[in-house]
Assembly symmetry: C2
Homo-oligomer: 373 residues x 2
């Protein structure tokens, strides 16, 4: 079976690497001829709204999926008219727009920060008055890695916020005093079976995910239960098939949903070596209608993104338990060009190994401290 993938970035590349052993073919569509997936999968070069390119992507494929959510809905519709598209068009639509997304969460009993929709300066002013400060103003669409966001610390920040973001469809969210960011990673099969990996603790710097630790240290059953309920509700409401990532804030003992990604996710890269079945393999199994594999973790694992410049390969590989993943991308400021997974038998060992990694690759201190348990 051949699977059509909208997008050919590192996620498409890792999907393709997982597809070959399963006997599944992958063909990706990407605007760039240098797309990372091209080295390991068929690549159609074209824009996502180019119907001829979409036709070439579809030819001979039996299932379609996507590895990025900032796609023209039309591209999803065209693929869905020719073959089953997973996750569903509804998941893609909801995941693209922050007001729709948070309204959807709320409608399904999932806690979200208070928010208001902002399309005019007056709405921003009334929103700030209503929600109080700090509050976060975000574009409703196309935000990623912290782009298109502005934090208002006081009502006097309205001027600057409006200068920066005014004119776009916006959302103003009450700032949540969270203790940490956790992501919920789950997969649902075509038959409705849901499996969930352990909760993942994420460390962002400047809005970009830098490190993940899995299973998230200091978990209690309450958090895992809330995660289970939230993804089950979302996946069932969306007739979801494939991997879903739900980014949340931990506030006290409560998970507050921030956003969802209807696709394999950076906070799930640790599953390649760190779980019995990776997010990439389980996404493909789900999309292809195959039984899901176990989502159990092998032990404590950390994942560190490589941003911008190539890592010192030898120094990284000399660290016990370290596994390197390069995406075949040209180095560029702020660009995710790879990641390192660090495996260990215990939290203490993971902490030590992550400390060693931190000497050769930037790792937030908080992530190292947290890995120590």
């Amino acid at each position: 079976m051949k699977i059509a993938v909208l997008g050919g970035g590192q996620l498409g590349r890792m999907l393709a690497l997982a597809a070959h052993p399963l006997g599944l073919g992958v063909r990706c569509l990407d605007p760039s001829s240098k797309a990372p997936a091209g080295a390991v999968a068929e690549l159609v070069v074209g824009a996502f709204d180019d119907e001829v390119a979409l036709g070439r992507l579809a030819e001979g494929c039996e299932r379609a999926t996507y590895e990025l959510e900032n796609l023209p809905i039309k591209a999803g519709e065209i693929m869905a008219s020719r073959m089953p598209l997973h996750p569903s068009l509804q998941a893609l639509t909801v995941g693209q727009e922050r007001v729709a997304e948070k309204s959807f969460f709320r409608a399904h009993g999932i806690a979200v920060p208070d928010f208001v929709s902002v399309d005019a300066r007056e709405e921003l002013e009334s929103g700030v008055a209503k929600l109080g400060c700090p509050a976060v103003l975000k574009t409703r669409r196309f935000g990623y890695d912290g782009k298109g966001q502005f934090v208002l610390h006081s009502p006097s920040d309205v001027d600057e916020a409006w200068v920066r973001l005014g004119g776009w469809p916006l959302i103003l969210e009450k700032f949540v005093p969270f203790s940490r960011e956790l992501s919920v990673l789950a997969v649902r099969s075509a038959e409705g079976e849901i499996r969930r990996w352990p909760l993942v603790e994420n460390h962002h710097v400047g809005g970009i995910l830098i490190a993940s630790i899995a299973p998230a240290p200091k978990l209690d059953a309450t958090l895992e239960a809330q995660a289970a309920v939230a993804v089950t509700r979302l996946m069932e409401a969306l007739s979801y098939v494939g991997v879903l990532a739900l980014e949340t804030f931990q506030v006290g003992d409560t998970l507050v949903a921030n956003e969802m990604a209807p696709r394999v996710h950076n906070s799930g890269h640790w599953t390649i070596e760190g779980a019995e079945t990776s997010q990439f393999e389980n996404h493909l199994r789900a999309v292809a209608g195959l039984p899901l594999g176990s989502t159990a973790a092998h032990g404590p694992v950390a994942m560190v993104n490589l941003i911008g410049t190539p890592p010192p390969t030898e120094a990284v590989l000399a660290i016990p338990g370290a596994r390197l993943h390069l995406y075949g991308k040209e180095p560029r400021l702020g660009r995710k060009i790879g990641h390192v997974t660090v495996l260990a038998q215990s939290a203490a060992e993971l902490g030590d190994r992550l400390e060693r990694l931190a000497r050769v690759v930037p790792v937030p201190d908080a992530a190292v401290a947290s890995a120590h348990g």
Copy 2:
């Protein structure tokens, strides 16, 4: 760094799948345009003695290796004249010829079955008289998967043995009353560091490897120590860089060497999910001059070859801990077209899972029984 690989079969394919995340390129040379590696690596189609094809293979590569040992030595020489070739030409030469191989083992204090070289019928007769029966007559070169072998149960079998194999350079080996077959899998870095995976128990049917269990059940320290000494001596004597597999017979508490493969090996496929670092990744790390990764096993693992016909994918993937590896080869009688790895937390669980696999894919009873521990 790009690595040239002589051969583009499933071993080349799995090397390439391991190479991409490390940021290493792979280009394979294979006589077939349908070679399995072609889906995931650059493929040069040509004969191994075609100097133009070897030139195209070499272009832009910095290291060379091979994924099969039945190669013209000339091909190895041509590659070695242009870049470092790992494992060494000597390893390739020794591994190709059974008399040279067993003499080399013996010269380095590694136990082998008694043997004589046979080039004429009289030598076969005198050999049978000297070694006694049962004895195994084998071609000295190009044997694999039990091909080119004949067991003599009594001196009266000389006629049939000679009709079948006479005319080839042969070796007659005393039959060893072994309790099981174990393979030693190790890797040596360019700096001389040696790491060894746990011993693997192999189950052959008709000369073809069908199942491996790792770590081999019922191991004692004596066997592991003998394995360590044997590969250390071999690798050091051959200035070896890369993965080496040494197939042995367990006779009482002694390992008796049968043959070596100077390359990644079928009995090491379990390492992809079952060990901290796979044989493919560690071979590449060694060849590329990078530090080696840990060879520790995650737990009890079984590997079952898929021979001839495609497996029932859904039934295989429905087994907990089962991971499928298809090679993209056309089904054909007796052909290895893929393998299944089964992971478990305990021997009992591995046995149960292997039993379940045995209902949908042929697995020798002895392997299932042994997995139970």
